[in-house]
């Protein structure tokens, strides 16, 4: 399901839609076709995205699950899906409880499905988002997503190869509970992130803006990496292939730890 180059605005459209939802609200952001039929919706529960659907996004969660975990078969999933529907059991939790998929795989598959559906939904020729309140969907919190996760996922669809490289680079460098994200220079939404799920997107954006400004000046004197101390947080930033990488390290001696790490790091020019 490759997306067109209009994806960065797509991620921004999702960002603006989510920005309108009160942080404690539960309900659906819905878009409709001119004939009144539903084009798609994004379910939101207390600031977290639970699910998204789009009329023009045909891929099923079961397809993604089989894609993510090759020990699963469509037959197994179809049978389980029918049983869950019949007995009103939650599909995700049942899959995990029966050991058919691990929680991280299910989380990844659900996130991928939600992001791809949103990527389609924002392109639909449909009405602006309207809010339909709900008393709550009761999704397991582990199977819902922060705005940062969803928007990064939608953003990555535009350039999957670049996003995959950025994610792989972050995996190499982010240690323990440290955090990291990668963002194209001048962009507002990251391409990839590790452990930044709970960080406000605006905070990541501010960090990126400052880091980018510093790197723009620092590059004039061949500086490759900038480190900053922000209270208990230490932040390192550098640029590789026009992608800005930011590592965040918190706690005692955070600055020294990060300094020791980046001092020996090879920057890919």
């Amino acid at each position: 399901m490759a997306a067109a180059t209009s994806n960065p605005p797509a991620a921004m459209a999702v960002l603006h839609a989510l920005g309108r939802v009160p942080s404690d609200a539960c309900g659906a952001l819905v878009r409709k076709h001119p004939d009144g039929s539903v084009a798609g919706a994004m379910l939101v529960e207390r600031g977290r995205v639970c699910w998204a659907m789009s009329q023009h996004y045909r891929r099923r969660l079961t397809d993604i699950l089989v894609d993510e975990q090759d020990t699963l078969t469509h037959a197994q999933l179809t049978e389980l899906f029918a049983m869950c529907r019949r007995e009103r059991m939650p599909l995700g939790e049942t899959l995990v409880a029966r050991g058919l998929v691990s929680l991280p795989v299910l989380h990844r598959a659900l996130l991928r499905h939600t992001c791809e559906a949103l990527d389609h939904l924002v392109r639909e020729e449909a009405s602006p988002w309207s809010w339909v309140a709900h008393s709550g969907y009761g999704y397991h919190p582990m199977l819902t997503f922060s705005p940062a996760e969803v928007l990064t996922g939608v953003r990555a669809i535009a350039n999957p190869a670049l996003a995959a490289r950025a994610r792989a680079r972050l995996r190499e460098l982010v240690r323990g509970d440290d955090r990291g994200f990668a963002i194209e220079r001048g962009a507002k939404i990251p391409l990839a992130q590790i452990h930044c799920e709970t960080v406000e997107l605006a905070t990541l954006g501010d960090l990126a803006v400052h880091a980018d400004e510093v790197m723009a000046v620092a590059a004039t004197v061949d500086v490759r990496v900038a480190l900053a101390q922000l209270g208990v947080l230490a932040c390192a930033s550098w640029v590789e292939h026009d992608v800005l990488f930011v590592l965040l390290c918190e706690g005692e001696l955070a600055f020294n730890r990060l300094l020791a790490q980046v001092a020996t790091m090879t920057i890919i020019p």
Binding site: H210, E213, V217, T220, L259
Partner: protein, 107 residues
């Protein structure tokens, strides 16, 4: 202001130390008075980086051959100490010494 000579003596591999005023962009003092081609642009870059009040008080910039340690004083945020050292395994120690020197001034 702490004596730049003391910093240059204590920080191993120190190339130059300088006080700069980020409001005026002036170099207030520098030791030793070297004029290697990279020093003036490095001080200008430090001034430019720290000019924004939103920048954190302490930054370390790693270049291929040098390390630029840039730190504001708590007493006067417009006054910034810039210490440029050669890249060496003593990097962490250099940063700690500069910080301790400034903390002594601000205490």
């Amino acid at each position: 202001m702490i004596a730049l000579t003391a910093i240059v003596e204590r920080v191993q591999d120190c190339v130059v130390a300088a006080w700069v005023d980020i409001r005026t962009g002036n170099v207030l003092a520098q030791h030793p008075p070297r004029n290697d081609a990279f020093i003036a642009p490095a001080l200008d870059a430090a001034i430019e980086v720290m000019r924004s009040r939103e920048r954190p008080p302490r930054m370390v910039l790693l270049a291929d051959r040098h390390v630029h340690i840039v730190q504001r004083t708590a007493r006067d945020p417009n006054r910034v100490l810039v210490v440029i050292c050669d890249r060496s395994p003593n990097l962490g120690l250099a940063v700690s010494i500069v910080r301790m020197q400034l903390e002594a001034v601000d205490a």
